[in-house]
């Protein structure tokens, strides 16, 4: 029994290692863009892979699973940081966000992904992150977040209109 268990663990590690070599670098960089801190992004991506190893038997498609896990970890981090900042602003009587970029020509220069995504209602944020920024398909997003394809399409449709307005406002 022990030998069988060891063999299973080795097989899991071998499988996850292949995924690690293929996707870790990009995933960690993806998280860095979202949290703005390379060390934290490294921790987040590492955590996603630890969880992948834990759930390996039930994960059919590792790449969308990893990006969804990472997006959720990032969202939790944003919430925590955002809540801290919001409470502090309430305490201070309102303080503007120093990270807001000045207007410029390139949309990537004037608005961060975080700012764009956080301008959306909560239900649209993860679908937008996964579809537009992680480049997953509607079907992959729907499967990972437990919604129907139609519901994801509706979220993306609504989000597009809101995001376009936000982007327009930065020009």
């Amino acid at each position: 029994m022990a030998q069988s268990s060891t063999r299973a663990a080795t097989a899991v590690e071998a499988g996850v290692r292949e995924v690690y070599l293929a996707h870790y670098g990009r995933l960690s960089g993806w998280a860095t863009t979202l949290v703005g801190d390379r060390g934290l992004a490294h921790d987040v991506a590492t955590e996603a892979f630890v969880r992948l190893m834990r759930h390996w038997d039930t994960v059919d498609d590792p790449r969308p699973w990893l990006y969804t896990t990472t997006a959720n970890l990032v969202r939790d981090h944003w919430r925590k940081r955002g809540r801290e900042a919001a409470a502090y602003e309430r305490f201070q009587g309102g303080v503007t966000d120093p990270d807001v970029a000045a207007p410029g020509a390139d949309p990537a220069d004037v608005l961060s992904v975080r700012q764009a995504v956080e301008s959306l209602p909560e239900r649209m944020r993860i679908p937008v992150l996964l579809y537009y920024f992680a480049d997953l398909s509607v079907a992959q997003v729907a499967r990972e977040i437990g919604k129907s394809d139609g519901a994801v399409k509706r979220d993306l449709y609504d989000a597009r209109a809101l995001l376009a307005k936000t982007l327009e406002g930065t020009r």
Binding site: A9, E13, V16, Y20, L21, Y24, G25, R26, S28, G29, W30, T32, T33, D37, G39, L40, H42, D43, T46, E47, V50, R51, R54, W65, T68, T69, N72, L73, R75, D76, H77, K80, R81, G82, R83, E84, A86, A87, Y88, F91, Q92, G93, V95, D106, A108, L111, S112, V113, A116, R125, I126, P127, Y132, D135, E144, I145, R160, A161, A164, L167
Partner: protein, 519 residues
């Protein structure tokens, strides 16, 4: 799709494509892979310990029969060593459900947990891991900002400003995330934490308390009106509160268990840490300008508890920017530790913005680092032993930018002289090392990869018999209390436990158990 919608789609796609093009490619190196494997193996072992402990307790309960009802043995309690339950992860798709659902953090246990309190009223400073959850770096003016709601502004001879904390909810929210703890002695514990539920889309900070050593918890007050998020209580009524948000500088004192708070005049731009014992309070703060890297003008205050004007007790320590300064007690002696700004910083005096100091006669006396300490990584004062302090350093001869082996140096003379390190441990890249010590012999080190305990002052290391099933990236702080107690506060951002609680050891780090704040 009409033309307008097509324009929207193109604008959005172009925006994200521009950002996708900028995503950096990080290396998928062997060190990180090893870390992933080790963490998984550690968690797997943690699960087994939890199962074994749970079975042991269940067997004991059956043997004892109905004669004794031990509060821990009830319902589905998995045992004191139960690790973070994978089912409570809220971030991975396998367990979180739809992404727009707010994590509810169902507690994995239904029974009470063992007491955690020591009998002495004292708590230690926090040891934050690198870069996982720093306060928002807003530059704020120094010192005198006060909340504007519900505050009585003092005139020249008026009494100090008092702020009433907000009304607490009926019960602790399920998404309550502990950010700090304080042991007031006699089974009286306090915890601060954040939550989002019923909070109008913003942060709420709550003060929670337990009067039975952590078995049951209840909400005390909403701390948002006061603007504080950390507390240090001396007893059930008396305590200090401060904000860990960058640039606040607010310090308050309560004498009614946290319901109302009176402003303490300090003139700080940032309060780093407050620790009190007996009738003495030591505050580490900065009075200079704050930025992303930290705050300038580190000062220390050593004063009597209850003094509402500390300006006469402020003593300058160093001027350069510091970050994450801690106050720790070794017996009756207080020490300051300002960590190096990042791994690989060359050793030197505190004038570089970091260092270790002994608080003596109202001022801070600079301590020399051990001679062969090439790069300091962590500091710990032995909670129960006067003059006993430890410094974790990279072993000599390594490139500061790529540290791989570290050791612990011990001083039994309050930092005037240092011994030599014994066995080494891996501290890859030199960051993410947390350390705490309960007494002259026991030191616990938590790295990114492992948890190690020494019972001979750092000369040799072993894995605790029931170790903390978390490594440093998952922790907000690791602190030592008198009486052999250690407390580890989990960073829920990384660990994703989804259930309010923290971890504690009451036997100097040999065995760990989780304290759940929800029944």
């Amino acid at each position: 799709m009409n033309r307008h919608e097509r324009d929207d789609e193109r604008a959005v796609e172009e925006f994200f494509a521009a950002h996708r093009d900028r995503v950096p490619e990080e290396p998928a190196d062997e060190v990180t892979w090893q870390r992933i494997k080790d963490r998984h193996r550690r968690e797997a072992r943690g699960s087994r310990w939890g199962t074994v402990a749970g079975l042991g307790i269940a067997a004991a309960a059956m043997a004892i029969g109905t004669y004794v009802v031990w509060p821990q043995i009830s319902g589905t309690v998995p045992g004191p060593a139960a690790p973070v339950d994978a089912a409570s992860d809220t971030s991975d798709p396998a367990s979180s459900g739809p992404a727009d659902s707010v994590p509810t953090g169902a507690a994995p246990t239904t029974g009470a947990v063992p007491p955690t309190a020591s009998s002495t009223a004292r708590a230690t400073g926090t040891a934050e891991p690198t870069g996982t959850d720093q306060p928002t770096g807003t530059d704020q003016p120094t010192g005198t900002d006060q909340p504007t709601d519900g505050v009585t502004a003092p005139g020249p001879d008026a009494p100090a400003a008092s702020v009433a904390a907000g009304e607490a909810p009926d019960a602790l929210p399920s998404d309550f995330a502990v950010v700090g703890t304080s042991d007031a002695g006699g089974g009286q514990l306090f915890a601060t934490g954040t939550h989002e539920a019923d909070c109008e889309g913003t942060l709420c900070v709550l003060l929670a308390a337990s009067t039975d050593g952590g078995l049951t918890w209840y909400p005390v007050a909403d701390l948002v009106p006061v603007g504080i998020s950390q507390v240090e209580f001396l007893d059930a009524q008396t305590g200090y509160g401060w904000a860990d948000a960058r640039g606040s500088g607010a310090l308050y004192l309560t004498d009614d268990g946290g319901l109302t708070w009176t402003s303490v005049t300090l003139g700080a731009s940032q309060v780093w840490d407050v620790q009190a014992q007996d009738d003495r309070v030591v505050v580490a703060a900065s009075t200079g300008e704050c930025g992303e890297a930290g705050c300038a003008g580190l000062v220390v205050v050593d004063a009597a508890v209850g003094d509402l004007d500390l300006t006469d007790h402020v003593a300058q320590v160093i001027d350069p920017v510091v970050e994450g300064v801690q106050v720790q007690w070794a017996g009756a002696g207080a020490y300051l530790w300002a960590p190096p700004p990042e791994p690989g910083t060359a050793p030197g005096s505190g004038a570089e913005g970091w260092g270790t100091w002994r608080v003596q006669d109202g001022r801070a006396e600079t301590l020399a680092e051990p001679l062969d300490c090439s790069t300091p990584l962590a500091f710990a004062a032995a909670a129960d032993t006067d003059g006993q302090i430890f410094t974790a350093c990279a072993l000599p001869g390594q490139d500061p930018a790529s540290v791989s082996d570290a050791g612990v140096w011990r001083s039994t003379t309050g930092g005037r002289t240092w011994g030599s390190p014994g066995g080494s441990f891996a501290a890859l890249s030199g960051d993410g090392v947390l350390m705490a010590s309960t007494d002259a012999d026991h030191v616990l080190v938590v790295t990114r990869d492992e948890v190690l305990l020494s019972d001979d002052g750092g000369m040799s290391w072993h894995e605790p018999s029931t170790p903390l099933p978390l490594t440093s990236p998952s922790l907000l702080s690791l602190t030592a209390e008198p009486g052999g107690v250690l407390v580890a506060v989990v960073d829920d951002t990384v660990a994703g436990t989804g259930s309010p609680g923290y971890w504690t050891s009451t036997d100097r780090g040999e065995t760990w158990e989780r304290v759940d704040l929800l029944p």
